[in-house]
Each structure stands twice: as C-alpha cells, then as structure tokens.
Subunit: 232 residues, 2 copies
C-alpha cells in the first residue's frame, strides 16, 4: 500500500486520483462539520461548489449550509460550525453545503475509487478504514484558498504516522507531514491555534470551534461519498 | 519585514515577487553548485531554461553545465556536482547552466527586486543579507518537477529560524518550514539523506555530493542575479 499527501488543491494536478482511496481533509472546519453532523444523525450532506447550487438544493428542501471567507451566508440556515451541525433538529435531515476550500477538494476527488472524509474528530475510524483498503491512498488537504495550511497537513501527518509501518511513503510530502506531526503531537490544539487559519477565524469568535476541531476520536464514523452525497 | 515560503514553482502564482528579495533554493544540487562555483573563482553563472539556450552560450565560449533527471548531458563539460564547479581550471570562466528545477525557479523570480541564491553552504551569508534588506522576503524552493521536497523546505526553515525574532511570518508555509527545521536541526545531513531526491540521486553514485550539500557555512558568499548572470 502506497500513501501520499497533496498539500493543496493547487497541486492536485501532480497526483493521480483514479483507483485511489482519497481522504479529503479540511480541519477548519468543513470536514470536521461533516463528521460531527453525520455522527449526530444528519441523514446526508451534499457538498456543492457554488452558492447557486446550494440554493437550488435548498429549494428542494435541503438545509443550506456553508461559508465564504469563514462567515455564514445570510440566506443559509447553517454556517460552518461543528456545533451547528450537531443540533438535534437536524436528525434525519439532508444538508447541502458549500465552503471556501473543503467542498472544492471533494469536487476534485470525484474520479477516485472512493472518497472519504477525515478530521481529528474521526481519526481512528479513518485509520481503521485505510488499514483495510487495498487501494493506494491519497491524503488530500483542502488548504486555504489553494495555499498550504498547518492544520490539514498536521492531520495528514497523523495518518502517515499511524500507517508508517504498513505503507510506503510515495514522496517527501508524506515524509514531512509525518515529521511535522511528530514534532507537534504533544499538543495538537496549541499548534492548530497558532495557524494562520485559526488567527483568521478568531475574528469571528469561533475559538470553541477551533478547540473542538482539534479533539481526537470524538466519533467512530467514516463519511463516504456515494454519488453526490456524503453518508455513513 | 515579512517573510514567506513558496514550496514549489507550481505554487508561485500565489505569491507576489515584485518588490521582494527572493532567495532561490535548490539544495540538491543547483544552488549548492552555484555557491561552490562562484566561491571558488568562477566568474559568472548564467542559468538558462533550455538545453538549446545553454548550447547557444556554449558556442560563445561559455562552459556548458547542467542535468536532466539528475544526469549530466553528454555534450556538456560539467554536470550538476558541486565538486565539478570547484575545479581550479574554472577560475575566471563563465558557465551557462540548465537544470531540472533550479534554473526554472530563477526564471520565475526575475520580476523580483533582487534574486539571491541560497544553500546550506552559504546559509549565514544569506541570513546576514536578509537582515540588512528592507524588502519583504520570499524563500522560493525549487522542489522537484514541481513537487514539494524535503531538503529545500528544510533550508527555508533554517532561514525562518534565523529570522524568527525579526520577521513576521506571512503564512503557515513559513511557520511549518520553521517547525520542520527545528525538528531536524540536530542532524541535517541524516534527514536530507532520507529525502526522495537523495534516494533518486543515490542511483547516480553522488553520495558525496549529497553530504557536501548538507554542509553549513562552507562559504561566506552571496550569489546575486545581475541581468542574466549570477555573480558575487
């Protein structure tokens, strides 16, 4: 089994996604929300690239969710906070979501053999699944507006660390994600709080979100793309 | 003073190079060769993008140097080894060089306020210069065929570490390069030997080159781009 890490969507052209298991990672906050929501009873989450597509699904009865530049859109019911996704009234509901980075990365992964959703919140479930797959693995960091970010790379490193005895690292991206994780493993939450993205989000009073997204193994679930929908 | 790190030429579109001091980094082996050669008496080194441009300068009396895929081209006098660049018979000579990654990164930096050449071999000279400049700084890793690599990111991290008290980090790329360096600083040579690029080069029997390129502060020189030429 080979494993590689793509640090941002702007580098995805360097990788083959066909035949692979792709793990999409957007720790702050899209994939953390997806894990928290589906683990809390949301029926499905449909990621879409544009606000217009989201509104079209909203007209069909979907709950509309998402952000642009870290802020909820006024016409949407939900923003991009994991706490919003865990509300009891969303049980059994279908959500359509569009975010700055995470939903774009999912869109770019659609030719993969399978697309699963990773976050610290479901880290062990991701590792357990990858240990069973026969596919090669691509850990795909959503980044921030195409740029490298700390928190997604750090989670990719956590997965590389968990698989390091069984998987062959295909590139320095995987190797350096591992080293980064090993240097930060003692205090994930602190290092994420030092990231640029965390600094940007602090303006929007979402410190609790950031702390929550750094929690490891809150949920033993693995969201997976089936057609256009993420489901468990 | 702001400092940022671009991990590969495939991400350079995310950065402004205008008005900046750009440090081009290709540890294995282009920028290490440039430092070693100019420090050893080579008069100038002209980086060019293509083999044809190199041959055209060769016809004008330049020494032709460079590689494709890590190997010397048969019609060239020099390959891409720092030892070749330090030969006494090259003193006072002009070299034209084309390499897989390093010369492309220099080409992409030409709109900068100034372009300087960085390697472990002249680390302190780079830091001393950056401490004096009033420009913002971009550390530009040449990578490998557009991909992220360990050794260039590690050197970028060494520079971030040296400037961390005086410079503002513009992104997580700079922050994570710093963390990577801090986790590897105890044994630069070992970590570079674990990189993918080092593995590839080992096939060509260049272990001595790799060890040499990991040496810190062999030369107190700063190659700088003047027109089309690198000079001291």
């Amino acid at each position: 089994m080979k494993i590689d890490v793509c640090y941002t969507p702007d580098l995805i052209h360097q990788y083959e996604v066909e035949n692979k298991t792709v793990v999409v990672i957007d720790i702050l906050r899209a994939t953390s929300c997806m894990v928290a929501g589906l683990a809390s009873g949301v029926q499905s989450i449909t990621p879409v690239a544009t606000v217009e597509e989201c509104e079209a699904l909203g007209a069909q009865g979907y709950i509309m969710a998402g952000e642009r530049g870290g802020q909820k859109l006024p016409q949407f019911q939900l923003g991009n906070s994991p706490f919003e996704y865990m509300k009891p009234e969303l049980r059994g509901k279908k959500i359509a979501t569009t975010t700055t980075n995470g939903t774009q990365a999912i869109e770019l992964s659609k030719k993969a053999n399978e697309v699963v959703i990773g976050a610290f919140l479901n880290q062990k479930a991701v590792v357990n699944h990858l240990n069973k797959t026969k596919n090669d693995i691509l850990l795909f960091c959503a980044g921030w507006q195409g740029k490298y970010n700390l928190e997604d790379s750090l989670f990719a490193g956590a997965i590389c660390n968990a698989l390091k005895n069984d998987a062959e690292f295909e590139s320095d991206s995987a190797l350096c994600a591992l080293y980064l994780y090993q240097s930060m493993a003692s205090d994930i939450s602190y290092y994420i709080s030092r990231s640029n993205h965390a600094s940007r989000l602090t303006k929007f009073n979402v410190r609790e979100d950031i702390e929550y997204c750094a929690r490891v193994d809150e949920f033993n679930v693995l969201p997976k793309l089936k057609g256009a929908e993420l489901v468990l």
